[in-house]
Symmetry: C2
Subunit: 239 residues, 2 copies
DNA sequence: ACCTGAACACCGTTCAAGT
DNA sequence: ACCTGAACACCGTTCAAGT
């Protein structure tokens, strides 16, 4: 136990774990070969012995977090299909919340790690086991979008000049009075919506744009719709 | 009309238009200050007179395409709300198909251009005009996700080693026999799904993972579900 | 087998200077 | 007002070399 600790040799796993930690702490732009090497107390060129190039590093980083997400979602228990998928998707979300940069990084990648396909095979098994045709199950997978991985593509948030990424939720306090007044002119319905939601503050949501609530709303909307398509006869449905 | 044409002075608009053209032709990584300047027959530093830095350039590029998309979606006609939203979202999709890099770029941005908020205000007007409460309309916006902008978060596609981005559709021909056999072991249900869908080739879809069909399926699933929530009484619904 | 040092061809950006 | 040239501090990466 001298002053220079941790002389464990490098490995792909150790490099990727350090990379994930770096990105968690300082964001994707901070992930450079030189800085990552410094974190590992090694020269930048050493990384190239374990990874071919930076693209492989980014792929590996995503592989690491997606493996974690898929592991958290688990294999699915023996409850009914809606409850099982719901539980898996919400478990995935808990992990994704710790890596909020992952959706944006995923959007830039060209391939998905193998674990994702195993995970989707399990979802498919759940649907088919519940009586879905492969055709409808396939469409269900597309309809779910990114929900199985624990995030929703949040392209809209009612804060034209707010901080955080485009997908971030809006803290109610961020909308100052002056800002809201300016909004009322150009965006009357958005302003009215904000006003209406703030008024109804007596209910049990955590606040404006509570994303857990939104996530579950969308998820249940899709699950209910799919249930109806699988077993028609309860209500009118075309297309 | 001498040999050196196009000596029109630079402007923010001209810079952004050239940037969009560059990205359309060669992808986001090709968009560097030096290369963009070369395309405009100007020195790299000249760009800084019209844009503060590269982040502003990327914001501007996205602003340009989103303005185009919002313009294509239009203000909404006088048909019923489902048909109106459907028409708007599908029109947006036609533009987005010409800028397939835009979703990934949008995921990296921190703010959305103002035109997007005007567009969403119009969608909100449609919903509220159709009898939605602001609460339900708000949730509908979140449930739509990226559909109003013309794309679906396609995180799943049954091609573990295919080309194109993670969100790309799979051309049926890409799955060779050997690849499919290997898939059958590890991913039995995905393999069965591929087999089942290929078998049913007599129907009018354009092919495996026809994304126009998938897009409309998801859209209609959401529209039908929202219609039911707005006017309950036709079928059982909880949550 | 695993890691390093120096070097190369790029980046975005600052700053003083040109017209 | 608009554009430029040289320079700076970074990148990812190659290549020959160390142990």
């Amino acid at each position: 136990m001298t002053a220079r600790t941790s002389r464990t040799p490098l490995s792909r796993e150790r490099v990727l774990a350090a990379a994930v930690a770096l990105v968690d702490a300082h964001g994707v732009p901070a992930l450079t070969m030189r800085r990552l090497a410094a974190d590992l107390q090694v020269e930048a060129m050493s990384l190239y012995y374990h990874l071919p190039d930076k693209e492989a590093l980014l792929d590996g980083v995503l592989e690491t977090v997606l493996d974690e997400i898929v592991r958290a979602a688990g294999p699915g228990g023996d409850d009914v299909w809606q409850a099982r998928l719901r539980r898996q998707f919400l478990a995935a979300r808990q992990v994704m919340l710790r890596h909020p940069w992952a959706p944006a990084l995923l959007a830039t990648r060209h391939t998905a790690p193998a674990a994702v396909y195993v995970y989707y095979d399990g979802i498919l098994a759940t649907l088919v086991g519940a009586g879905f045709s492969y055709r409808l199950a396939h469409r269900a997978l597309h309809a779910f979008g990114s929900l199985p991985l624990g995030f929703a593509q949040e392209v809209f948030s009612p804060a034209p000049a707010g901080g955080g990424p485009a997908g971030a939720e809006l803290a109610g306090a961020e909308l100052a009075g002056a800002e809201l007044a300016a909004m009322a002119d150009a965006l009357p319905h958005l302003a009215a919506m904000v006003a209406a939601e703030v008024h109804a503050a007596g209910d049990p949501t955590l606040g404006w744009c509570d994303s857990q609530v939104e996530f579950e709303f969308t998820l249940d909307l899709l699950l209910d719709g799919l249930a109806r398509l699988r077993a028609p006869g309860s209500a009118a449905a075309d297309g």
